[in-house]
């Protein structure tokens, strides 16, 4: 894994300066609107709007393509299937709808720092207080998870080495059982360390 950073592209456009919450709300509204648009002409208008938004953000074509790239084959397949079962306008509009929704969400990811988005999501999670959960523990949970990703990646490497040493490279069981047991041992030691620091008092 090449570092745990999001896809954020630094910039000073109006999209970069909008608060994360506003962008998330805008994304929800526009994705709903996309589902409601049926005519190809309306969707073409939406496509023009999305292209305009990308131009305003100034993130560049490479970053934009990286956001849409994961759905490229899906878009092709969907277009062909729709072309067979329906007609050209239906195929074009449903394919466009999928690509535009992904592109819009990608635009929010590209113009918002991970930290700002996390802070916004944590704020959205504050109502859990009424369900008996403590927002501090939730944010600890999120940061501990981020810290655990490299630890688990390291554990995977060690388990693979051990597998090779034992000559059982091909056994999925010889990989997964030690991995899960190792993860549990790590988790329980971590839990004890947290408790020792007075987290449960």
């Amino acid at each position: 894994m090449t570092g745990l950073t999001g896809a954020y592209v630094p910039g000073g456009s109006i999209l970069h300066r909008l608060p994360a919450g506003a962008k998330l709300a805008g994304l929800a509204v526009s994705c709903t609107a996309l589902l409601l648009l049926r005519s190809p002409a309306a969707l073409a208008g939406a496509a023009a709007a999305v292209v305009l938004l990308y131009a305003v953000s100034g993130v560049g074509a490479a970053a934009a393509w990286a956001q849409v790239r994961p759905v490229r084959w899906f878009a092709v397949a969907l277009f062909c299937v729709q072309l067979v079962f329906a007609d050209l306008p239906a195929a074009a509009s449903s394919t466009l709808r999928v690509v535009l929704a992904v592109a819009l969400a990608g635009l929010v990811t590209l113009t918002t720092r991970t930290g700002a988005l996390m802070a916004c999501l944590e704020r959205c999670l504050t109502p859990v207080r009424f369900a008996g959960l403590d927002p501090f523990r939730l944010s600890l949970l999120l940061s501990l998870t981020l810290r655990s990703v490299p630890v688990m990646a390291d554990l995977v490497t060690r388990v693979r080495d051990a597998q090779r040493a034992r000559g059982v490279e091909r056994s999925a069981r010889a990989f997964a059982v030690p991995l899960v047991v190792g993860a549990l041992r790590h988790a329980d030691a971590l839990g004890e360390a947290l408790a020792a620091r007075g987290l449960d008092d």
């Binding site: 079962f85 501990l144 981020l146 047991v181 988790a187």
Partner: protein, 202 residues
């Protein structure tokens, strides 16, 4: 999901925070070896669903649901934690969004069924739990969302998704074998045993 068992002395002890975060990270790491993309569909085959089923079988109902939630929140914040380095809000508006969100009730149902098995859930129960939660619920959530996003009919979407069924069935079988092996090697990996220890140890 009912959470009748979620009233220990402390609502969310440090031991649970640690287990939930480590398992969320484990699910993320299982996506690392790289997703096998079947040409023409957007839902990559990964080991991550294996991680979701294992989380359910080992953490129990609400902890596993929380682990999946934490992972999805981090993904939504833009971190590339899904298989193939995917992340960001795009995955929640894309065609496979329902399959991802289905992990949540899926892990919870797996955990719920395993918890009914008491201190020593048998292989049959584990297989049933992984199939119902990790395959049944995930498909039930994923197919309607994919149909809605793509505008294809439910039947055609189900047919497209059937390509993933053999792999998912194999993963459910593997998950139950691994969960059984883990729970033998580390008895505290049984949700009921863990809960008793937390109650007794305080």
């Amino acid at each position: 999901m009912t959470d009748e068992q979620s009233t220990p002395k402390r609502r969310f002890p440090a031991a649970d925070i640690a287990r939930v975060s480590v398992f969320a990270a484990l699910i993320a790491v299982l996506g690392l070896p790289g997703a096998l993309n079947v040409f023409g569909d957007a839902v990559p085959i990964t080991l991550q669903t294996l991680g979701v089923m294992l989380a359910g079988a080992i953490l129990g109902t609400w902890r596993s649901a929380l682990a999946v939630t934490v992972l999805l929140v981090l993904v939504a914040a833009g971190l590339p934690l899904l298989a193939g380095g995917r992340g960001g809000l795009g995955v929640f508006t894309g065609p496979s969004a329902g399959f991802l969100l289905g992990w949540l009730p899926g892990a919870a149902l797996t955990g719920w069924i395993v918890e009914r098995g008491g201190r020593a859930p048998g292989t049959v129960r584990l297989v049933a739990a992984c199939l119902a939660g990790g395959v049944g619920v995930v498909y039930l959530c994923g197919i309607p969302v994919q149909a809605l996003v793509t505008g294809l009919s439910l039947g055609k979407t189900a047919l497209l998704s059937a390509a993933f069924l053999p792999g998912d069935l194999a993963k459910a079988a593997l998950a139950s074998i691994v969960a059984r092996g883990t729970q033998r090697a580390y008895p505290d990996a049984v949700p009921a045993v863990h809960r008793e220890r937390l109650r007794a140890g305080g």
